[in-house]
Symmetry: C2
Amino acid sequence: MRGEALAEQAYVALRDAILGHELPPGTRLSVPDIAQRLGISRSPAREAIARIAYEGLAQVGPHRGAVVSDIRAEDLLEIYSLREVLEGLACRLASQRLEEPDVARLRSILDEHRHAVDTGDVARHYELDQAFHAAIRELTRNNRLIESLDRLQGQIRVAMYTTRRSPGGTPQALSEHWVIFEALTSADPDRAERAGRAHISRLLRDLEHSVHGVHGKEKPP
Amino acid sequence: MRGEALAEQAYVALRDAILGHELPPGTRLSVPDIAQRLGISRSPAREAIARIAYEGLAQVGPHRGAVVSDIRAEDLLEIYSLREVLEGLACRLASQRLEEPDVARLRSILDEHRHAVDTGDVARHYELDQAFHAAIRELTRNNRLIESLDRLQGQIRVAMYTTRRSPGGTPQALSEHWVIFEALTSADPDRAERAGRAHISRLLRDLEHSVHGVHGKEKPP
DNA sequence: CTCGTTGACTTTGTATACAACATGTAGCAC
DNA sequence: GTGCTACATGTTGTATACAAAGTCAACGAG
């Protein structure tokens, strides 16, 4: 009846729940609990949790179970350092494999993104920001690179629970995406890499400022 | 009696066997077989295989078990593209965190490496080549970067089974390591990154030549 | 002789049973 | 009242049982 394996379904359900902030960082992921909640046995539940942990979305200790990762500013520094060079490489490779339909697709994402920014639709804004980067990394055809960036993207999303503000959430991201788009279509891989890298580098610098600067900036009303 | 968890031991044993070329690419990793061979139950054996697969050292299909990955030249192109930027980042970060003991350690590795090259000890040569890169990436303190490079290193090692020649196996690697060492100690992160990146970039170009050039170069006597 | 089919065997995926370990609480000594 | 111990409970890690699916070989039809 069901399409795939039980463990796979459980993994997807868990992942969606964590990425959707239904399971906040620090939540215990106990095998019996997950199994009962999804109506499955412990074996696939255990396997799903293990996969979640491999992706960095949960942390496990011996005999102590798993908890949803609490990814803090310090980790984000790590993540964005990595992402800077990976995103640069992605743009370089994408620029070398870019076909006409790909250009059209990227342009349509950017147009929609523009619309979302103009109308103040922040959810769609965030979604299209990610879609732009996802489209670029798919173009690289480098599966290991794609997987690495996917993993980082997931961790960033989890981190957004604690650090409430999205790093790419400013309208500035859109204009930088246009710079990347121009670089990608310029048939200059070096320029493409620099553009992609600069984009993430700027986000990283913003992050460093907000970490080193006002430390406890969040102010309850 | 035993130190750690059974699944952990099984994972390490499997990993060592694959990396040591005792289990050549294409070998089927059946759960009952592994379990019996290691004298454990199927549960930890299954978990160990899953972890191996997650590291890219084996590939799994639904209901079809796992086989040791056959990593070919095509995959190595992917791997080295990634590694180029990651190794560059590692050198950049390492140069920013370099302390005096670290410098001494790197120098001692290079000295031993020189000795291995002079005496023609290829096994030790390869070992010290890896040790140099491992030392650098440990210096970064970026766990995600370290893990990524470790993973790639493992896959490269598996690939060496099919592509008999080691990409870093030339004495040229040693001289390039010295260039990296100089760059690391120059307190110039940009230069360090360029040096690390250039090193892998050269290996990647060699690979591309041997792939595009003489395609079936191996010649039986 | 070639190709398709059937059937037995093996393996995977899932469910469940059991021991070791961790955690938290109640009770007791001081 | 405070701190420690012992126990009770729940969870993890491991072992095993069972159904579904895949693989392979022998067999028979054409």
